[in-house]
Symmetry: C2
Subunit: 219 residues, 2 copies
Amino acid sequence: METTTRTVPLRYRERMTDEQLAVYAILDEALVCHVSYVLDGEPRILPTLHARDGDTLLLHGSSGSRLGLLGREAGQEGLSVCVAVTLIDGVVLARSAFNHSVNFRSVVVHGRARLVTDVEREKAALDAFINQLVPHRADHSRPANPQELAKTAVLELSLAEAAAKVRADKTDFDDPEDMGLPHWAGVIPLKTTAGQPKPAPELTDAPVPDHVLTWRPTR
Amino acid sequence: METTTRTVPLRYRERMTDEQLAVYAILDEALVCHVSYVLDGEPRILPTLHARDGDTLLLHGSSGSRLGLLGREAGQEGLSVCVAVTLIDGVVLARSAFNHSVNFRSVVVHGRARLVTDVEREKAALDAFINQLVPHRADHSRPANPQELAKTAVLELSLAEAAAKVRADKTDFDDPEDMGLPHWAGVIPLKTTAGQPKPAPELTDAPVPDHVLTWRPTR
C-alpha cells in the first residue's frame, strides 16, 4: 500500500501502528463510504461522503435525512453505526472457481456517531469533505453560509474501533492439485481513472485550474 | 444509463419498469456490494460478492462467517438485511462548497436473505458469482467440489424491495446568486479501467485467453 503526505503525519510517525497507517490510507483514498445503522430493529445502509480528521471519521448527511435525524435524537450518547470503505484493486482468476476473488483494501469502523453541533467544527468538516473529493478544493469555492450549514448534518465517530483488511497480489492462485488444469490464472488489475474535466456550459472557454487538471483518483 | 445484453431480457422487456431496468443494470455492473445486518442490536457491514438471477439477488459468504452462520440460524424466515451497491461516475465541482457532489448510480435492497440449501442451486450461484467478476469465466475454470460447496454459504433475497438512485450530469451546478463567482465548476468524470492482465508466475509464457483480454469493468 502506498502512503502519501495526506496519510503520514510529519511528526510522531513512529508512534503509529501499521494498522493505523493502513486504516488512514484507505479512508483517505476512498471517495465514498457506506454507513449502516439500525432503525426499528432493521438494518439500513446509506452511501455518503466522508473525511478524516486525525483519529476521527466525519460523515456527511442532510439535516432532514434519516441519518441526520437519528444522529440528532441520539445526542451525546451517539448513534451506533458501522461504516465500511472498500477499494477494489483487481479481479483474481484462479483455475478453480472457488479460488476466484478480488484484490481489495477495506476498512470497517464500529462506533457511536455524534452530531457535530459546534458551527466552527461543522465548517471545518465541510471543508474536509470537499478536500476529500478534490485536494485543496475548499480554497477554490465559496464556503457554506448559515442556511447551508443548517441543512447539513455532520456526524463524527472515533476511529478507535477501525480495522483494515487487505487482499493484495499473491503468487499462489490455486491449490497444488489444480496446478495442472488448462485454465488461465492471474490478476486483472483495476483502477479508477479520471477523464477530461467537463466544465459547466458557461465555462467552456475558461481555463481549467491546476487543482482540477492534476487531480488523480488514486493518490 | 447504458443497458446491455446482460441487463435487458430478450422477451417481455415491455413488462419491466424503468426502475427495474435501472436496478438490474447497476447490480450487474458492480463488482462488490455491501451487506448490512443486525447483530445483538448493533449494525454490521460486510463487503462481499453478489450476482443477480432474474429478480433474486445472490450474496456470497463463507459457511463459517458471521453472515453465513446467521443466515443458517434464520432458516426459512430469513435474515433481515440491507444491501447497497454504489458506482461512482464523477466528481461534481460547484462554485459553492455546498453544491459539490459526486455523480453516482446506487441501488439499495431491503429484504430477508435465505441460505440456499439446494446443491444444484448453490452450484449455479457460484457460477453466477464468477461470471459476475468475468463474463463466461465459469466455462473456463474447475467447478466447485463438494468440500468447497460446504465451505460456501450463498444467501438469496428478492429484489422486490430494491430502489435505484442516480445522480447524472446536470448543467446547473450552482444557485443563480453564485454564478458570478470566480471559481471553476464542472465534472471530473471517473471510470474503472483494467490494466494489462498479470498471469500467475508459471503462466508468464502462456497466451492470455480472449475472455480475459476483452474484459472491461464498465460494460
